[in-house]
């Protein structure tokens, strides 16, 4: 299957399916759209897309980066048709079938992006990780706290940090989040790190950093410098 993008009528069909899925969770995805010349158009040079299970958000972002290079395509953040086509192509990964044969669709922006909304663009399950990967292409490992989960999982680390432009675009803060929340030995998020309540949760970290942003030039600081000025409980958690 070649890389394509949904046209406006293709987007309408995908939207209709997502409407239907909320009523009938066993509905089969409209995969026929993917290669339809009526509902899609080629994106970039004709390039084969591999549909396989990617274990992490990093793995799928890396694959997409290679795919776009092969297709000689500079993917625009605002190319809704392209990102929606990809979400449909990977729908079994992004909205997997559960044990009872049904799917649990999340909010629409997980599959059809809203790139013009700074409150929601990062929630798309492919565009979100891809943008984080692209911003950290020189060293994706620094953003592992936001890239280590499976592509269909959107935890509170992603929600709290990716939703704030001044945090997600800052390399030192990405490195700090990874130091705090990611266990590089197990390649998993540390226990208790993605919760919503507590002294070291991402929500609290984001609030503290947003306050620091009024006092210091955070883009000029290193992850170590940031860690030193964080409340003590964060420093303890970083060593756990």
């Amino acid at each position: 299957m070649k890389l394509r993008r949904l046209t406006n009528s293709g987007l309408e069909k995908f939207n209709e399916y997502l409407d239907e899925l909320t009523i009938t969770p066993s509905s089969a995805p409209p995969f026929y759209l993917l290669e339809s010349t009526e509902y899609t158009e080629l994106a970039g040079d004709p390039t084969d897309v591999v549909i396989s299970a990617f274990p992490t958000r990093l793995a799928i972002a890396e694959y997409l980066d290679t795919l776009f290079k092969d297709a000689n395509l500079t993917p625009e953040d605002r190319d809704v048709g392209l990102w929606a086509w990809l979400a449909l192509a990977y729908f079994d990964i992004l909205c997997p079938v559960g044990g009872n044969g049904t799917r649990k669709p999340r909010e629409r922006v997980r599959y059809i992006p809203k790139p013009e909304s700074y409150l929601k663009y990062y929630r798309h399950q492919l565009l979100g990780p891809y943008l984080i990967y692209r911003a950290n292409r020189d060293n994706p490992q620094r953003a592992m706290a936001l890239l280590c989960k499976a592509p269909h999982i959107h935890d509170d680390i992603v929600e709290q940090l990716a939703s704030r432009q001044e945090l997600v675009s800052n390399h030192a803060i990405m490195e700090l989040a990874t130091t705090l929340y990611y266990d590089s030995a197990s390649k998993q998020i540390k226990k208790g790190a993605a919760g919503k309540r507590g002294l070291v949760v991402p929500r609290h970290l984001a609030d503290v950093l947003s306050q620091f942003d009024l006092t210091w030039d955070l883009y000029a600081m290193t992850a170590d410098e940031l860690l030193k000025v964080l409340p003590r409980e964060f420093r303890k958690f970083a060593q756990s």
């Binding site: 406006n8 987007l11 309408e12 500079t74 625009e76 953040d77 605002r78 809704v80 809203k114 790139p115 013009e116 909304s117 700074y118 409150l119 929601k120 663009y121 990062y122 943008l131 984080i132 692209r134 911003a135 990716a162 432009q165 001044e166 997600v168 675009s169 800052n170 984001a206 609030d207 947003s210 306050q211 942003d213 009024l214 006092t215 210091w216 030039d217 955070l218 883009y219 000029a220 600081m221 410098e225 000025v229």
Partner: protein, 250 residues
């Protein structure tokens, strides 16, 4: 989210004191920044380091502008990380080196001005963008830092739609009401002095319309809605809604 306090008396630079103008250089996006007012209008130390940052979503670029005492724009000001100029915002920061990167002054959310806007000397209170809206013709979008009017890109040329007397007569007053309702009734915002805040700019714009006057207590919804009614009525008169309606209702 917790409230943010300005413990260190960081100076808030007014957006209106900074101009970032879009330019093209060999087909690439490029900008020029006029920061001269920062030097004259604010008490900042000459050794303060000046930076201009461009950002949108996960994209961010920083440009060195020298010091307050000697502004020296970075020679390369190509916005290479951005695929279009749409919705790029800028920050200007003044920091003190050697003091833990302390922030002395900042202006945030500065829009990029096109050469046309610069020529007219005005920026829009409600930028208009074409957008896929299905069956809707327009939508006021509050999901960004600054509200925008989205116009259905499939309904026709969005600029022509906005200039059409039918749209102006029927949609403009409704849009004006929607924005004021969002600011005053939903947000209970009552400040019209902070010209770096879009909400204050809108209130100021409404207040100076003939017969509108000062805002009531915004916690009283009925009084707020009455004030908005007066403002919409004055706005409709200002843009000649009846005449525009008559132009197409024949």
């Amino acid at each position: 989210m917790i409230r943010r306090f300005n413990y260190t008396n960081r100076i808030r630079i007014s957006r209106s004191d900074v101009q970032i103008i879009l330019d093209k250089y060999h087909g690439e996006l490029w900008f020029n920044a006029d920061l001269s007012k920062i030097v004259t209008a604010y008490e900042l130390p000459p050794e303060g380091l000046v930076f201009v940052e461009a950002y949108r979503q996960t994209n961010w670029m920083r440009f060195d502008y020298g010091t307050v005492g000697k502004l020296t724009p970075a020679s390369d000001r190509i916005l290479k990380q951005f695929d279009s100029s749409e919705d790029i915002r800028f920050r200007v920061k003044v920091t003190l080196s050697g003091d833990g990167h302390r922030l002395l002054a900042e202006a945030d959310g500065i829009p990029l001005i096109s050469p046309d806007e610069q020529e007219s000397g005005r920026t829009s209170l409600l930028p208009v963008k074409p957008h896929q809206l299905g069956e809707q013709i327009y939508q006021v979008d509050f999901s960004n830092e600054w509200p925008r009017l989205l116009v259905n890109s499939e309904a026709g040329n969005y600029r022509d739609i906005c200039r059409h007397p039918a749209f102006m007569a029927l949609a403009y007053p409704a849009i004006f009401r929607e924005v004021l309702t969002q600011i005053i009734v939903v947000g209970e915002h009552d400040d019209d002095a902070d010209m770096t805040d879009w909400r204050s700019q809108w209130i100021k714009f409404a207040k100076v319309l003939p017969g509108v006057g000062d805002l009531p207590d915004v916690t009283n919804e009925e009084d707020s809605r009455n004030w908005i009614n007066d403002a919409v009525s004055a706005f409709a008169k200002r843009i000649g809604v009846r005449g525009k309606f008559d132009e197409f209702w024949r």
